[in-house]
Symmetry: C2
Amino acid sequence: MVTINKETPLQDIGGGVVRKILSHAPNLMTVELHFDKGSVGAPHFHPHEQIGYIISGKLEYMENGEKRVLETGDTYYVAPNVVHGVVALEETKLLDIFTPEREDFLR
Amino acid sequence: MVTINKETPLQDIGGGVVRKILSHAPNLMTVELHFDKGSVGAPHFHPHEQIGYIISGKLEYMENGEKRVLETGDTYYVAPNVVHGVVALEETKLLDIFTPEREDFLR
């Protein structure tokens, strides 16, 4: 089953961050995020496992207080309930992937 | 835990297709694929659930005999054991995502 990006609604979640929920099913979800330069994904945690894929741009990824700069094509894996966050060092496009899906995003 | 794309080995899987295994854990795996124009991901199936994200380019996606053209930013979801395949209509970069991980890719 396909999801066409340009037919998918953009959600402004504030602070220079917008997202599109792309293909998802109960066990797997993809979410495309656009960060303006300097915008922040504040540190948080959740029981879902996650991988982030940097589609384009550059960000500082923080996990458990440790920071790494990630660029186009790099990924990060987040185990359940690990505190993580990002700061966009440039305008950045990110694909966030979750298992199971984030039901809270669908309400 | 991060995976740096340029430090990750490229695997030539033949027929104009190369792949990089990026972040993965038992429940979640990301694989970046590069298809030369005209190259093919032959129809196949597996018990893993999958989402494909078109990073750039254009491909024809086939699922259960039905075809759709997908472009940059589009996604497809594949339920367990559903027959699916792709043909690259242009040089295409694809992110394939699996739950659980494809242990066969790690041998």
